[in-house]
């Protein structure tokens, strides 16, 4: 009874679709049938029955080949709307059988796996792309095979069981450009507080060249705040004209700040997002789900 239940489960979970070789198989069986039936030709009967039985046995084995497989996401990059990100998926075989000739398809991309040994897995890469920000479900992975006989394609879908957060598409004015436009916000290199004698470990960029030219010796510019200590104040409402554009703009800046190791705050209409108190992913997730 248990075997029957397993069989029904396998048949219902792994589907098959005939291809042109199936037509060939049918024509062969009909041809053999006519030859055998007209003349009571037992060798042909046997060949016909064997052909039919091979096809039936192949149908069973082909389903078992796929039923044993499961897939899950192993790792993935951050997902931004309208951008492709790499995603690693592991296809695992949980049985003592070897699975052969597997073809995995995700969002139109196919990857072939020659075999997956018993109790082992194979890792495959896909490019994942979503059009809209927000929380999404991963598309199911199609696992297919023509094994053992190529007259029908067996396939099954394995949900990757993962909700993914797609961040807004990072686009807009670059952070550097924005700084240049808003000089008052963070100042320029010449807005120094005073001069001091150049010290051995001073950055060459801090040298005050006019002093050197006037013969006053090598002097360094003295700043009240260094760049690392700067916390950028980003404002949701003023950064762009529409909500989506704002979110994209902020997303771009957040990513840039993370790359440049800059602290920042984002003033949202109802909340202040502080990079010192929240992780970048949490901030991005907030923006994604805004």
């Amino acid at each position: 009874m248990r075997s029957l239940r397993t069989f029904i489960r396998i048949v219902s979970s792994v589907k098959s679709r005939p291809n042109r070789y199936f037509t060939l198989l049918v024509i062969t069986i009909i041809g053999l049938f006519m030859l055998a039936y007209m003349h009571n030709y037992n060798i042909v009967y046997l060949v016909m029955f064997f052909t039919f039985s091979f096809a039936a046995a192949s149908s069973l084995i082909g389903r078992l080949n796929l039923d044993a497989l499961d897939a899950r996401v192993l790792s993935q990059e951050r997902l931004f709307a309208q951008n492709a990100s790499a995603c690693k998926v592991i296809v695992e075989n949980h049985t003592s059988r070897v699975s052969y000739a597997i073809e995995c398809t995700y969002a139109g991309q196919s990857r072939g796996i020659r075999r997956i040994d018993a109790y082992k897995g194979e890792i495959i890469d896909f490019d994942v792309r979503f059009d809209q920000r927000g929380e999404h479900d991963c598309l199911p992975l199609e696992i297919a095979s023509y094994f053992p006989l190529p007259y029908e394609r067996f396939f099954t879908f394995r949900g990757l069981h993962q909700k993914v957060m797609v961040y807004p598409e990072p686009k807009g004015v670059s952070l550097q450009e924005y700084y240049r436009q808003s000089l008052t916000l963070i100042g320029e290199r010449d807005d120094f507080e005073g001069l001091r004698t150049y010290q051995h470990d001073d950055n060459v960029a801090l040298i005050h060249w006019p002093s050197l030219a006037s013969g006053a010796g090598v002097m360094s510019k003295q700043f009240s705040h260094t760049r690392q200590d700067t916390t950028l104040d980003l404002d949701f409402l003023s950064c762009a004209s529409s909500d989506e554009a704002r979110l994209s703009q902020l997303c771009l800046w957040v990513v840039t700040c993370e790359r440049e190791h800059l602290s920042f705050t984002i003033t949202m209409p109802v909340q202040l997002l502080d990079s010192k108190k929240m992780t970048t992913d949490a901030i991005l997730a907030y923006l994604a789900s805004y």
Partner: protein, 662 residues
């Protein structure tokens, strides 16, 4: 041959083109016996051409022309539409055209859908030509080869794995095939040879005459004349007489049958008081004559044949191909009193001056006034008293007085000499006699109900007409007092191989028996597979409906077949152990999996056993298993004792899990 053991280790299949080549060679094999010489030469040239790395278009065009010329030459005798309406000519033409297309396509090095299908087409076309056991084996092995090539191509794995997978498919298919073969409805009663005439020219040791002169030199052949399968138990040894022809006319050098026109004048033979009816199926191999050999005395004989007044069954046509027929015979019988004076006259005809000593010996018997039965009894006693010796290399009798010569001078002979002398002696004594030639089968050539009859079983015996009892069979050869073994050896034949008295070696007996079992197997296969028909199917269904025991047996046999197939599949799917340590612990992992605890591939054994310990706190040996596992896995050297300890612990744990379930 030395590369054969390394074959399964081939890591991956050759490319599709090579696989197709293998399939094409296998599919073309039977056609090599049917294609005409020009086509064979064309095929050979094409095959050689395929070894070239580059074939130009011009070469392909040249080969197309060559192929067409070969086809024209092959079929030059059938340049008319009528010939093409003959199926075999038509099929041969199709095969030739297909061969041409396949070779040209193959030369172009492009694989298309039609080229992939061509081995299947060639394979199917071969069935038009052959229907033999060899073809059956060929068909099954080619089918397996096709399956293997397909599976191998799909798997892209080592050959041994592809072999295992295709064998699994084969094993799974067998019960379905058996069921379908037995139950699939058949409507056709007729078997066709597709117009093929047998090219098997053969004749048997029986030719309708019986020579006593130099032509009678006996060369016993082991060629099989016919095979018989009795429906029920096999008759006794002394009942296994298969009638061939009945000889009345003593021509001194030979005995012969009456001319056919005389036979037409009399009524057909009729058996009265038939008892112990025996039904049987005969497979008669071609002998180029019309006799259908049937057991003494036939009561039912096949259609398209006739039974004459001498109880001889003859076919309407010459037996030039293997013939299968059914018949039944009365083993105990009494024939209708002979009404024809023609037969009686011939049955008494003898030259009284030819054998004076024999005449003198039986003259008193003739005049004694005894009835025929008493005279026959006295005749048997007289014959026995002559102390005759059975010899396969006797001296030729003096044909001036052959009976005298055999009985009183040479005293050596085989069945023809015994039969001729006894029949002549009976006529001299006034008893109508005739000689019957045919085959005397031997139960030593039988297995259960199956009996083989060879040329060496050709025999002659005598029938005496004993008044009210009609014609009664007498076996004069059995009256010999001894066997001339030296003559047997000189002929290098074994007539009574299994006779405990004969000096045969164990190997000879084993050879004879093995050969017999082989023939029995072949016959059974032919009977139940090649010649399974609607008749047999109907009989099988009838038996299944009527006989509950038989139905039970059939169902039991089928269940057994499924079980065997399952075991075979299981064995084929069992992976050989690559990881010794894992294999020792695997039974426990399987048991735990059934209990709902599965070790994932990324989980360490230590972590998994920890989970198990929490689920089964009463099992106190899990830590021991973990320790042994770690030692065996990561220790410096694998220790047999360590593994066996691990095995014991694993078994203990499995039992502990089972107990908890109970």
């Amino acid at each position: 041959m030395r590369y054969l053991p390394t074959l399964p280790a081939i890591k991956s299949p050759p490319d599709l083109q090579r696989l197709l080549d293998i399939a094409l060679v296998a599919a073309l094999l039977p056609h090599l016996f049917t294609l005409k010489l020009p086509m064979l030469l064309y095929l050979l040239l094409s095959a050689l051409m395929l070894f070239k790395s580059h074939i130009s278009k011009m070469t392909i065009y040249g080969f197309m022309l060559l192929g067409l010329i070969s086809i024209v030459l092959s079929f030059y005798a059938q340049y008319n539409i009528a010939a093409l309406s003959r199926m075999l000519v038509f099929v041969s033409l199709v095969v030739s055209l297909l061969v041409l297309a396949v070779t040209l396509q193959r030369m172009s090095r492009t694989i298309n859908f039609y080229l992939i299908f061509s081995p299947v087409l060639l394979f199917i076309l071969a069935f038009f030509f052959f229907n033999t056991i060899t073809m059956l084996f060929y068909a099954l092995s080619t089918l397996f080869l096709f399956l293997l090539l397909l599976v191998w191509h799909q798997m892209q794995s080592p050959l041994d794995e592809a072999l295992k997978m295709s064998s699994t498919l084969f094993a799974l298919a067998i019960p379905v095939v058996v069921l379908l073969f037995l139950l699939f409805p058949r409507i056709s009663f007729q078997k066709t040879t597709f117009g093929f005439k047998s090219d098997e020219i053969a004749r048997t040791g029986h030719d309708g005459t019986m020579h006593l002169d130099s032509k009678a030199l006996l060369v016993p052949s082991q060629r099989v004349v016919m095979e018989v399968l009795f429906d029920e138990t096999m008759p006794r040894d002394d009942q296994l007489y298969f009638r061939g022809s009945v000889l009345y006319r003593d021509k001194v050098s030979h005995w012969e049958a009456l001319p056919a026109f005389k036979e037409k004048m009399v009524n057909l033979g009729r058996v009265i008081g038939a008892e112990s009816l025996s039904a049987y199926a005969v497979t008669l191999y071609p002998h180029q004559r019309r006799w259908l050999y049937m057991l003494d005395l036939p009561t039912k004989y096949p259609k398209k044949s006739k039974l004459d007044s001498n109880f001889i069954v003859t076919s309407d046509v010459k037996i030039d191909e293997t013939l299968r027929y059914r018949g039944s015979s009365a083993l105990v019988y009494k024939t209708l009193p002979q009404s024809s004076s023609t037969y009686m006259r011939h049955a008494l005809q003898t030259d009284r001056a030819r054998d004076p000593r024999s005449l003198e010996a039986v003259e008193a018997m003739r005049l004694s006034g005894l009835d025929e039965a008493q005279k026959a009894k006295a005749l048997v006693q007289f014959f026995k008293a002559q102390k005759l010796i059975y010899s396969l290399r006797p001296e030729l009798p003096d044909l001036g007085h052959p009976t005298d010569s055999f009985l009183f001078e040479t005293k050596k002979g085989y069945c023809v000499h015994f039969a001729a002398s006894f029949a002549n002696l009976a006529r001299l004594a006034g008893i109508p006699s005739r000689i019957v030639t045919g085959y005397k089968a031997d139960r030593k050539n039988a297995i259960e109900n199956y009996l083989v009859i060879r040329e060496s079983d050709a025999h002659a015996w005598v029938e005496l007409y004993l008044g009210d009892r009609g014609w009664v069979r007498f076996e004069p050869t059995a009256l010999a007092v001894a066997d001339d073994l030296s003559a047997k050896e000189s002929l290098n034949v074994l007539i009574n191989e299994l006779d405990p008295n004969s000096e045969t070696t164990f190997m000879q007996r084993l050879w004879h028996r093995s050969n017999l079992y082989f023939m029995y197997g072949k016959y059974t296969l032919e009977h139940w597979v090649l010649h399974y028909s609607r008749f047999k199917q109907t009989a099988l269904f009838k038996e299944l409906m009527q006989n509950t025991m038989f139905l039970g047996k059939v169902i039991g046999a089928f269940i057994l077949l499924i079980l065997l197939s399952s075991v075979l599949v299981r064995l084929l799917q069992t992976k050989s152990c690559d990881d010794e340590v894992l294999c020792v612990i695997r039974p426990l992992l399987r048991r735990l999996k059934r209990a709902g605890l599965t070790k994932t591939s990324s989980e360490t054994m230590s972590h998994f056993l920890g989970t198990v310990q929490r689920a089964y706190p009463h099992i106190d040996r899990l830590s021991v298993i973990e320790g042994l596992y770690q030692q065996a896995r990561y220790g410096k050297a694998s220790d047999e004792q360590l593994l066996s300890s691990l095995k014991i612990e694993v078994l203990y744990c499995i039992k502990a899990i089972d107990k908890r379930r109970v």
